[in-house]
């Protein structure tokens, strides 16, 4: 491999046919470049589209109460279904696949708003009573301070974590909100944390315009007793969210005396299907990219093979002379294969560098602005893998020409 003479010979043949070599190498270069570009943009698209998903726990969902539509056990239809902490306990006890339950209440109902006051500033934000599990269900990043912890809930502490937009609106620029008190519907809560959303667009806007306080503290402060507005849940890893959701509804239906066939009494939603669909889409896209990319690469490699065949033909006399003065067939084979590998590997490497360069540039230009496109990238493993494929391809490309070169009989070559 590190044989000076072989390198010299490879260099000599390459220099002798500059244009031809260049065109061949362009085939390989273009193949790898396109493949990386496709992989990178595919990754960018995936990152962009799945960004909002990544904020959610993989296997999670919600269940909320509506009105019954069927009479059952002497109860009339049209009855409103309301939850309380006893339902939460029953669910937690009965469903083994449940990882965590996140019962929630909202002040003023869904989409409603409250007066949130700090000092002389007043604004309208959503206020929720939560347990710690909710921040595992819909993940947020704490910029300052901490989240809600189990003792906050157990001791009904009047603390609050606020969204970054709440912080921006109510506080003077640069003012640290930790330790200050805000008034929610006339009740003072101590601010212990500020969070940012992991989602984008409208969803993120909603997230950061909310205030989360411990569930129990909210129930007490706002006269909600044991009432709960809806349940969020996380299924254990490996369990299906749909299954947990179904079991939860069975428990609730039994406790609330809802007809088992009444599909309208409870509302539910889980992200599992969306997750799976999205994953399927991008897995498919990835396969497609590899398929196209490898096809392009194969075309380049076949080009190299063809050129090597021509090279062997042109060098028939030379190879004959070498054989006559003592070259073994093996030394001829390795010479040709090495040349093919050098051509493909070098061209591929340039393609690799340029591909990564363009993806990086795209990253810089697009940044985090585009809603469907984020962080286009090719991981190191993929890059190395494609280079390995290329070198193997180069070996294969050299194989047939090398075989032909080795079968040249010195006497025929010399006499021609």
């Amino acid at each position: 491999m590190f044989d000076y003479d072989k390198w010299q010979e490879i260099f000599a043949t390459i220099m002798k046919n500059k244009l031809r070599t260049l065109l061949t190498m362009f085939g390989v270069f273009w193949g790898l470049f396109l493949m990386l570009l496709l992989l990178g943009t595919g990754e960018g698209l995936r990152n962009g589209v799945t960004k909002d998903f990544s904020a959610w726990a993989t296997s999670s969902g919600f269940v909320w109460g509506r009105r019954t539509t069927l009479p059952y056990k002497g109860l009339r239809p049209g009855r409103a279904i309301n939850f309380d902490l006893d339902d939460a306990l029953a669910i937690e006890n009965e469903i083994a696949e449940l990882d965590a339950l996140a019962p929630r209440i909202q002040l003023g109902g869904f989409g409603g708003s409250n007066n949130v006051v700090y000092g002389d500033k007043t604004a309208a934000f959503s206020v929720y009573g939560d347990v710690p599990a909710y921040h595992r269900l819909l993940k947020v990043d704490f910029v300052k301070g901490r989240g809600i912890n189990p003792r906050d809930v157990a001791e009904r502490r009047k603390i609050a974590v606020i969204g970054s937009e709440v912080h921006r609106v109510l506080y003077a620029k640069g003012e640290d909100p930790i330790g200050t008190y805000i008034r929610l519907n006339g009740v003072f809560f101590k601010v212990v944390g500020v969070f940012k959303s992991r989602r984008t667009g409208n969803a993120a806007g909603r997230d950061v315009q909310s205030v989360h306080v411990p569930l129990t503290a909210a129930q007490q402060a706002f006269n909600r007793g044991k009432g709960i507005d809806w349940f969020g849940f996380i299924a254990k890893s490996g369990s299906s969210a749909a299954v947990v959701e179904g079991k939860m509804m069975d428990v609730i239906k039994r406790r609330k005396r809802i007809h088992p066939d009444d599909v309208n009494a409870l509302g539910h939603n889980n992200l599992e299907e969306d997750f799976n669909r999205m994953r399927g889409l991008f897995d498919g896209l990835r396969w497609f990219v590899w398929f196209v990319g490898l096809g392009t690469l194969a075309a380049g490699v076949i080009g190299v093979s063809n050129i090597m065949l021509i090279v062997v033909r042109e060098r028939t006399r030379e190879i004959g002379i070498r054989r006559a003065i003592g070259a073994t067939p093996l030394s001829i084979v390795t010479l040709i294969i090495q040349e093919a590998v050098v051509l493909t590997a070098f061209a591929g490497y340039v393609g690799l560098l340029l591909g990564i360069g363009v993806i990086e540039a795209l990253n810089q230009v697009v940044g985090t602005n585009a809603s469907m496109f984020l962080r286009p990238s090719v991981d190191f493993q993929t890059a190395v893998l494609s280079l390995v494929i290329l070198v193997v391809g180069g070996c294969l490309a050299g194989l047939i020409p090398a075989q032909r070169a080795a079968s040249i009989r010195p006497i025929e070559a010399i006499q021609s």
């Binding site: 000076y4 003479d5 010979e9 000599a12 043949t13 002798k16 006399r317 030379e318 002379i321 070498r322 054989r323 006559a324 003065i325 003592g326 070259a327 073994t328 067939p329 093996l330 030394s331 009989r409 010195p410 006497i411 010399i414």
Partner: protein, 229 residues
């Protein structure tokens, strides 16, 4: 050194079989300077190819330095060509993209001799054939006679037992032919066995012994008095 016994060789051309060598017996001793002559079609080139292990033969036996050369694998054949034989061709057969020094050194490359050592030996040989000042020249910058001298140097570098030359002066004018022949005689004088195939009587006259081939058999032999060896 070279001992061949009842060598037969035929080429198959479709249904026809053309016998080129029809039972040749020949012995060449170490240190001889021999020429093989004959009209075209007499089988002299085929004989040389067999002597050079470049071609196979069907019947008979060929011993080179006491070793039977028959049905060799390509690897073995390459080994014997490399270690026992040096070739000189009518059209020189130098590698165009290598300079004189590299051309001369090439056989040693296939013996896995280090670059420095083989270049030193190649330089010594170029000095011996009087071309030390042309070491860095490419073949297309050399005259025919110079090319042939480079080729002879290349044939000598692996210190072979036998030098085989196929019409070595066929592409040269008479003056350079003489120079090349002088070089062959000098090589022979240093102890190497030299076999030259030619159809020129003047060339054959400068060898000690001439073997005349005709229609695939040895017709007769002549010995030149006063020639070297």
């Amino acid at each position: 050194m070279i001992h061949i016994q009842q060598i037969r060789k035929s080429y198959r051309m479709g249904a026809l079989s053309l016998e080129v060598l029809k039972g040749i017996d020949l012995t060449i001793n170490e240190g001889e300077l021999v020429s093989i002559m004959g009209p075209s079609g007499s089988g002299k080139s085929t004989l040389l190819n067999i002597l050079g292990i470049l071609d196979q033969y069907q019947e008979g036996e060929y011993h080179l330095a006491g070793t039977l050369m028959k049905n060799l694998s390509e690897r073995k054949a390459a080994y014997y060509r490399n270690h026992y034989l040096g070739f000189v061709f009518q059209s020189f057969h130098l590698l165009e993209f290598k300079n004189a020094l590299e051309n001369v050194a090439l056989p040693l490359y296939y013996q896995k001799v280090s670059r420095r050592r083989r270049n030193r030996q190649a330089m010594e040989l170029l000095e011996r054939v009087g071309l030390a000042d042309r070491a860095q020249h490419m073949p297309n910058e050399l005259s025919g006679g110079q090319k042939q001298r480079v080729a002879i140097a290349r044939a000598l570098i692996s210190d072979p037992k036998v030098i085989l030359a196929d019409e070595p002066t066929g592409a040269l004018d008479s003056q350079t032919s003489d120079q090349v022949m002088d070089l062959f005689r000098e090589v022979n004088a240093s102890g190497k066995t030299v076999v030259i195939v030619t159809h020129e009587a003047e060339i054959a006259a400068k060898t000690a012994r001439t073997i005349h081939l005709r229609d695939g058999v040895v017709q007769n032999e002549t010995h030149q008095v006063g020639a070297a060896s």
